[in-house]
Amino acid sequence: MSVTLEKEKLSTQESKENDKSYIIKYGISLVVFVIVMGLSWVIHLMKITQITDFPVNFSPPVTNAIDDFVDFLVVNFAWIFDWMSDQAKVLIGKIRDFLIWVPWPFTILAIMYTGWKVASRNVGIGSAIALLLLGLFNLWVSAMVTIAIMVIAVLISIVIGIPLGIIAASSNRFDAAIKPILDGMQTMPSFVYLVPGIMFFGLGNVAAILATVLYAIPPCIRLTNLGIRQVDIAVVEAGTAFGSNRMQLLTKVQIPMAIPTIMAGINQTVMMALAMVTIAAMVGAGGLGADVFRAMGQLEQGDAVIAGLGIVVLAIVIDRISQGYINNRNQTTSIE
């Protein structure tokens, strides 16, 4: 008992000493701050531009180099970009036309059925009501266009992202190389991605898709990588001990066990794609984003709000259905 008391005494003494040292530290910081502010005031008063301005500007040569490089690509590889652009336009057009062509009750019933089966009864019914509202507020066609662009962007993201994630999981070096790039991609302001799209494909849906893929692909890569790396080492060891080669280990053990995490990645990719498709209205993508953009340009707040809410509704529907799918899957093949 007495020992613990002494300890407490000691600790209070220590904390008192700490208090003192804090005062000294903050005091010094305060003094330095005041001095620096005073100096700054003097510098501005005396107009010493050598200190207020940076001595050199590196920007022009670098931006020029980037411009030249892009010009070079556009001039010399225009035929590739044009071809890709044409194909993509045709594909988007077909999906959009199909989605619009199917009478809305069928689409709503299909979504309701999917939501019910894949997630739950409530999700199914809720999705149906949400879509019905989109239609009743005259947003149906725009919503279908948004979905068409999103679907293609998500498919491209998955087709590229999952293999990259798998490679990253099996090679530490590749992982180390790709990590800063992904970090950069995720911190970059989203509309920066619109620029390369316009450069190569001009205004329109194709540029929107490129921007969307660039923006939405990181979680797909990251979570595929993470999912495979997180697979229980004991299970991987068991797979190895039975003579699996690398490919068998990957396809029979690691990827199947990583699927819940990979699905979470795809879910994030879908949500980010939806966000980007909206912003991509700035480069001429159609859909709900374009409605918002136009309404804002014409100062029609009512239309802007309605279309904006339409995006929210669509996002909720997609998220609930895919989340429900992931959760149900996790329950049936629960890991441990």
Partner: protein
């Protein structure tokens, strides 16, 4: 049938294992090497020869190197030096292709934490080894059903591992290993994760199973009781070295050093002493056929007979010839010794 020959096997964990083999370091103890060079000697010059069809137990505490040893046998860990001859081929010299084949056909492993595939049904788990060998679905499922029946899991084929109790999960682990018909079964503390009742039951079942399958089994455990129940021979490891190698009887009745003795302390001698070691020459060739024992059975098993008859117990070999008798006082002596052990423990 297969023979495992482990020769001068070393495993040193660390960034510079070669330093341990320098002439001035080779005789340093494990802790000296760890302090001086930050290298961990997990296996130190292990030499073992495991006979075909025997259940060979490697016993030791955690950190004794027993797990490293069994992992080295299937090359989940690559030893630093030495050789492991299985079917007269050095496992350590195998290239990737040969290693894969070796793992597919010659050895199979049962893991402490089961290592089952949670996304696969019991049947698919049991069939995994065959699936990797590209055996067609029908044949491998048939084989898997067969081994599942052998381990008593018929009817659970389409369940997932998470729906099974620990004991049942480990049966799946054993079935998965047996399905590939390996020559050698490696069992790395297979029953440690189970609760005591199930553990004892599984040991007895393994013993029975071994009578039908007759594999070479390398069994890892930290429990001497378990080692004695399942093992034909036991190697006791300490700090990466084998400190004693022998039958359960030899180890319990004649521990090589105080370390082993401490382990064996609470094992009653009646559990390990075989009848042939305490029998005496028979005075006549006549004996009571109702109360015979075999020379290799253990003393504990004959105690019920002693209660039924007052006479010395006749010992009869497989050719039905009388080879000796066990007088009552010999048995009593052993029982008394065991009792004294238990008493002094408290």
């Amino acid at each position: 049938m297969s023979n495992i020959e482990i020769v001068n096997l070393w495993k040193v964990f660390g960034n510079d294992p070669e330093i341990v083999f320098e002439p001035e370091n080779i005789n340093k103890t494990r802790s000296e090497i760890q302090d001086e060079f930050n290298q961990v000697v997990a296996l130190r010059n292990v030499n073992l020869s495991i006979n075909p069809g025997e259940t060979f137990v490697v016993m030791g505490l955690s950190g004794s190197g027993k797990s490293t040893l069994v992992r080295a046998l299937i090359r989940l860990i690559d030893p630093t030096s030495g050789s492991i001859l299985i079917n007269n081929q050095d496992v350590l010299q195998y290239n990737n292709q040969e290693l894969e084949n070796f793992r597919r056909h010659t050895v199979a492993m049962v893991f402490q934490h089961f290592g089952l595939f949670p996304h696969r049904t019991v049947l698919e788990n049991a069939a995994y080894g065959l699936e990797v060998q590209k055996v067609d679905t029908e044949a491998r499922n048939q084989k898997a059903l067969e081994v599942l029946e052998l381990v008593g899991l018929s009817g659970w084929e389409s369940s997932y591992p998470s729906e099974l109790s620990g004991g049942m999960q480990q049966r799946v682990g054993i079935a998965r290993a047996l399905a590939v018909e390996p020559d050698i079964l490696l069992m790395d503390e297979p029953f440690s994760g189970l609760d005591p009742l199930i553990r004892r039951q599984m040991r007895i079942e393994l013993k029975k199973l071994q009578q039908t399958i007759q594999k070479t089994i390398v069994f890892i455990t930290h429990d001497l009781d378990e080692a004695i129940t399942v093992g034909d021979r036991i190697a006791i490891m300490r700090d990466g070295e084998v400190t004693q190698l022998g039958t359960p009887e030899e180890i319990v009745t004649n521990p090589a050093n105080s370390f082993v003795e401490e382990f064996t302390f609470d094992i009653p001698k009646t559990r390990v002493t075989s009848v042939s070691n305490i029998m005496v020459k028979p005075s006549s060739q006549e004996f009571d056929r109702r109360y015979v024992v075999a020379p290799e059975s253990i003393v504990e098993d004959m105690i019920p007979l002693v209660l039924e008859t007052g006479d010395p117990i006749p010992v009869v070999d497989s050719k039905d010839e009388l080879v000796g008798v066990v007088p009552q006082e010999k048995i009593l002596e052993l029982v008394a010794q065991s009792a004294r052990q238990e008493y002094s423990e408290e």
